[in-house]
Amino acid sequence: MSKHAIDLTLNGQRRSAGVEARTSLADYLRLDAGCTGVHLGCEHGVCGACTVTVDGRAVRSCLMLAVQADGCAVTTVEGLAAPDGTFHPVQQAMREAHGLQCGFCTPGVLMTFAALTGGEARASEEELVSAMSGHVCRCTGYQGIRRAARALAEGTVGAGAGAAE
């Protein structure tokens, strides 16, 4: 198998790697980069568990090849919280709303919400809920996730409390 050299920024750190042409971004992140928060529920682009952001946009890392991430800035769930452990608002919102049970789908949901609410992005509750059509959660019945979406859209996420202890 041919190897290709890639350089990318992963969770704010520069990384170089040699990857096979067929290696998905998800497999590279999990197996090479140790980002095991990237979860694989289907490897078919259906469940959304593998979602990361690439240059700020939510992407299913099982459908993107690692070579395509050459030169990109990739953020995984491991890169969401502040260095001191303070939760990102999407993490805080999901925690307060009990938006997770087993936590397997959760990293993908967090990354989609982060892409739609971070920086200049100000998605409405409807937009966040409609983005959830790209995620499957078998545990929660989605109501907690809906409440998290509302809190994010309305800006009512508790300020800083409950940081990663």
């Binding site: 979860h39 490897e43 993490q91 925690r95 936590g103 959760t106 499957v136 409950g162």
Partner: protein, 353 residues
């Protein structure tokens, strides 16, 4: 009035929103699911599976698979037989038919694992598994409850396709008289579709033989203790020989009570090869070959008196448990639930699975 002492007893929790202690790790990508565990020298498993629902295995050719880069082992049931394992039901009982980790001579469902390939990466294992050549003599599949009633037994040497039966289809005279004498007698047939549990985290196991009587398992499951007990009985090892770790589990829904064919094949292969082996089911495998639940048909009769009070009932319950039921006798439990909320003077039934 004294304020309740909120630091003591149940008052601390009742009515409170309690933050879960596992949330911080799950929200920051620090959960530990089976596929997140890596051991030195670990190999990855992929299976060559049956594409047909029923047939005899004519030949298995593993030569090309063995030649592939990174491949350390290509094992059939003949190889696994070197370390016997007795696969048990959910109730720790032995099945009447032999249940083997890999197919032994014949296949009985689409997706049944036939050959185990262990390689340095999952991709290499899949490449090699795709080169295993298995020739089958295809037989008519037995898929539905109706087919199971009339078809010959799918397991050689058995006299029917019923793995467990309790009760009587014939209604006894006394109950028949009660029903016949009731002001109203109803009969209704209920068909319940099959359930595919489909947890977000598929099945998976990492098995490591750490000594002659020391086996460590990381397995996505519903109860590590139940798994440890089941595996110790299945392998004939003392409880203390087996350590089971299941820190985070991505849903189970009844599917992950105890190991089944694939997990057992990985455990036995790890014992034989002396290398840690990891198998993580992919979604295609999960939807094809994971056990499913509760495809059932029930015909229920009930009698009522003129005031609408129940006088008696009879139930015929048939459940499609597939070729290798994990608990054939579990069908009996249905009858405990049917009339649980009602005063039922007389009830008789038959349960078959």
């Amino acid at each position: 009035m004294n304020a309740p002492n909120s630091s003591l007893g149940a008052t601390r929790w009742i009515g409170q929103r309690v933050p879960r202690k596992e949330d911080p790790r799950l929200l920051t990508g620090r959960g530990q699911f089976v596929d997140d565990i890596v051991l030195p020298g670990m190999l990855h498993v992929a299976f060559a599976r049956s594409p047909i629902a029923r047939g005899r295995i004519v030949s298995i050719d593993t030569a090309a698979a063995r030649e592939m880069p990174g491949v350390h082992g290509v094992l059939t049931m003949a190889d696994l037989a070197a370390r016997p394992i007795t696969m048990l039901s959910f109730f720790f009982t032995e099945a009447e038919i032999p249940i083997t980790p890999l197919a032994d001579g014949h296949v009985s469902y689409a997706g049944e694992p036939v050959v185990l390939v262990a390689a340095e990466t999952r991709a290499q294992a899949e490449d090699a598994a795709s080169l295993v050549e298995i020739a089958y003599e295809e037989l008519d599949p037995v898929v539905t409850i109706a087919q199971a009633r009339t078809a010959g037994p799918i397991h050689p040497g058995m006299d029917s396709n019923v793995a467990a039966e309790i009760g009587d289809e014939e209604i006894e005279d006394e109950l028949e008289d009660t029903l016949a004498g009731s002001a109203l007698r109803l009969s209704h047939r209920i068909v319940h579709q099959r359930i595919s549990q489909s947890p977000m985290e598929t099945r998976g196991v990492l098995a490591s033989r750490d000594g002659p009587e020391e086996l460590q398992l990381w397995i996505t499951c519903q109860s590590p203790h139940l798994v440890a007990r089941w595996v110790s009985l299945a392998l004939g090892l003392p409880d203390s020989a087996i350590r089971v770790v299941a820190k985070d589990v991505g849903g189970a829904f009844g599917l992950k009570n105890h190991p089944w064919k694939e997990e057992c094949a990985v455990i036995v292969a790890a014992l034989l090869m002396g290398k840690p082996l990891k198998w993580i089911e992919d979604r295609y495998e999960a939807l094809t070959a994971s056990n499913q639940a509760r495809e059932a048909e029930m015909t229920l009769q009930a009698g009522f008196d003129a005031e609408g009070r129940l006088t008696g009932s009879h139930g015929i319950y048939d459940c499609n448990n597939g070729a290798f039921p994990q608990g054939a006798d579990s069908n009996i439990a249905v009858h405990m639930f049917v009339w649980a909320a009602y005063k039922q003077p007389a009830y008789a039934f038959v349960s078959r699975g």
